[in-house]
């Protein structure tokens, strides 16, 4: 049953994504992509949960810490670079 519930969320989110993103003008496609990178860093919440599950195995700790670092890199790098780009789009 839970699978159906997750698939439900998936399908509706795909529709939402198509509706929202098809309205972004080509002018902003590069910031759109870096924004997508930033929100893709949401894997950080998966990393936080996983990094905290089993402290006794060194491999798990390494993988967990690396996952947190990589995801944070995406979040921080993605949002900051998007902000930097969007600041440049000015109208005179």
């Amino acid at each position: 049953m839970e699978l159906i519930y997750l698939l439900f969320i998936l399908v509706l989110s795909v529709f939402l994504g198509f509706a929202l993103i098809s309205r972004v003008p080509p002018l902003l496609h590069t910031p759109l992509m870096s924004e997508a990178n930033a929100i893709c860093g949401i894997i950080i919440i998966g990393a936080l949960i996983s990094a905290g599950v089993e402290a006794n195995s060194p491999l798990t700790i390494i993988l967990g810490t690396a996952a947190v670092a990589l995801a944070t890199f995406n979040v921080v790098g993605g949002y900051l670079v998007t902000e930097r780009m969007l600041k440049m789009f000015r109208k005179k």
Binding site: P25, I61, A66, V76, L80
Partner: protein, 464 residues
């Protein structure tokens, strides 16, 4: 204890809903440059909320490692975000795709080591997740290398490449069936390893001007991986965000392919059937060159000018010089517009970012469909570092490889200037017949130096 944990989880999921809404609004506000920064802010606050809610949920056992990861990731992220030049955006985006995918793979890996494959659904989603995650990671790494010039940006082909790819895919599929029936750890590692190898072979045959499609496809994959990881660890927010990012990549890939009049399979696998480039045929015509001084005299009398940038503009770093020329032309009474083809550059929107960086007002940046009806009224079209996207052969020459590709109709302008280093062909490897048209003049040399020379002509004429 059980009750409070339930409540915590309920609260966490409530906050996840708020985060999803903030992410959605963030994308919605990207619909206009006026609201875009607000959107980015909303999206970032959604992310912060989600992170705080997850940490507050109370399952965090070893905070010192998490803190270490956050410090490393945040400082590197900030460093790269502030240091990257706008011309380097395509490689930066490729790097972020790769990191996101690798993080997802690690989360899958931990999930497998801690819980194993708990049921059929789990085994299948884990399998999909590590296959796409692995190939997205190495594929993005190769794309990053190509875009940053660390490895050759050209299409890399060797004999037997097709069969090698087919055998790797077959192996991944067979191992997948075995894994789903009996999820052993060594099968998990073999699938992950093969997927990483496949990612390399997937991207190396794709060259230069096809990179916008590759970047968009990898973007979509990075979303799919986040999504499948959401299924593996039963996290709804990962599924929502993964779906949004996946949809983003699909839309951009479709736009890029339409702008090249090619199918996605042709871009991704076309290099294999298409090694021999069409030889230049027919009688040799003479392209007419013009000096900077003569070009200036024509520009001085122009009432409307359209500048058409391509990847060459980024290579020559000519965006600031171009802005200066544009301002001088406007001061001289000309109407100046910039015409941007969807696949100009190495990623979607590449040219817009460069010109915005040079402080050009975004209402002067026009899309192909907006500028084409106006081209016949334009006095001078200046093509800077673009080639295939202005080749009129696409309109009438059925034998041309780019036949049917939508182009910017630069040839319809009264006079066309082409700033180019030499008569070398563009990415598609074909002659551009525009160069031999009667209204076309070539200005040979480095684009930046040529534009600067034109700027100098304008300045000296104003002093007299």
């Amino acid at each position: 204890m059980e009750g409070s944990s339930m409540n915590n989880e309920f609260l966490m999921n409530l906050i996840y809903i708020v985060s999803s809404v903030l992410f959605a609004f963030g994308l919605k506000f990207l619909g206009s440059p006026v609201t875009a920064r607000r959107g980015n802010m909303l999206s970032a606050s959604g992310m912060l909320l989600a992170v705080l809610a997850t940490m507050g949920q109370g399952h965090i056992i070893n905070p010192q490692w998490i803190l270490l990861g956050i410090i490393i990731g945040a400082s590197l992220g900030a460093l790269v975000a502030f240091k990257a030049a706008m011309t380097q955006m395509p490689e930066m985006i490729a790097l972020l795709h790769g990191c996101g995918a690798l993080a997802s793979v690690f989360v899958d890996w931990i999930a497998y080591r801690v819980h194993g494959a708990t049921d059929l659904t789990n085994a299948v989603t884990l399998y999909i997740s590590i296959v796409i995650g692995g190939l997205t990671f190495t594929g993005s790494a190769i794309a990053w290398g190509k875009l940053s010039g660390r490895i050759s940006g050209k299409s890399i082909l060797f004999t037997g490449q097709k069969w090698l790819n087919i055998s790797i895919i077959t192996a991944i599929l067979i191992l997948g069936v075995m894994y789903i029936m009996h999820p052993a750890y060594n099968l998990f590692l073999m699938i992950l390893g093969l997927s990483c190898i496949f990612g390399v072979f997937m991207v190396i045959p794709i060259g230069g001007a096809d990179m916008p499609v590759v970047i968009s496809v990898l973007n979509s994959y990075s979303g799919v991986v986040a999504c499948t990881t959401g299924f593996v660890i039963h996290n709804t927010l990962l599924i929502v965000v993964g779906a949004l990012v996946g949809a983003n990549g699909i839309i951009l890939s479709i736009i890029m392919c339409k702008a090249m009049n090619r199918s996605i399979t042709n871009v991704l696998f076309g290099a294999f059937g298409n090694v021999v480039k069409k030889a230049a045929s027919g009688e040799k015509k003479e392209a007419k060159a013009v000096s900077v001084e003569d070009a200036f005299l024509i520009l001085e009398n122009a009432k409307s000018v359209v500048i058409i940038p391509g990847y060459g503009l980024a290579v020559a770093q000519a965006q600031h010089a171009v802005r200066e020329l544009g301002e001088l032309l406007e001061k001289n009474g000309a109407d100046v517009k910039y015409a941007i083809h969807p696949v100009a550059g190495r990623m979607p929107g590449h040219m817009n970012v460069l010109l915005a960086e040079a402080n050009i007002s975004y209402d002067q940046l026009l899309e192909m469909d907006a500028i084409n009806p106006l081209m016949e009224t334009v006095d001078v079209a200046i093509i800077i570092g673009a080639n295939d996207v202005v080749n009129p052969a696409s309109r009438h020459d059925k034998s041309s490889p780019i036949y049917g590709m939508p182009i910017i109709n630069a040839d319809k302008a009264k006079t066309v200037f082409v700033l180019k280093r030499s008569m070398a062909t563009g990415f598609a490897g074909i002659e551009n017949e525009l160069f031999y048209y009667d209204n076309c003049r070539m200005i040979f040399g480095d684009a930046k130096q040529t534009v600067q020379a034109l700027v100098a002509e304008f300045k000296s004429s104003q002093q007299h």
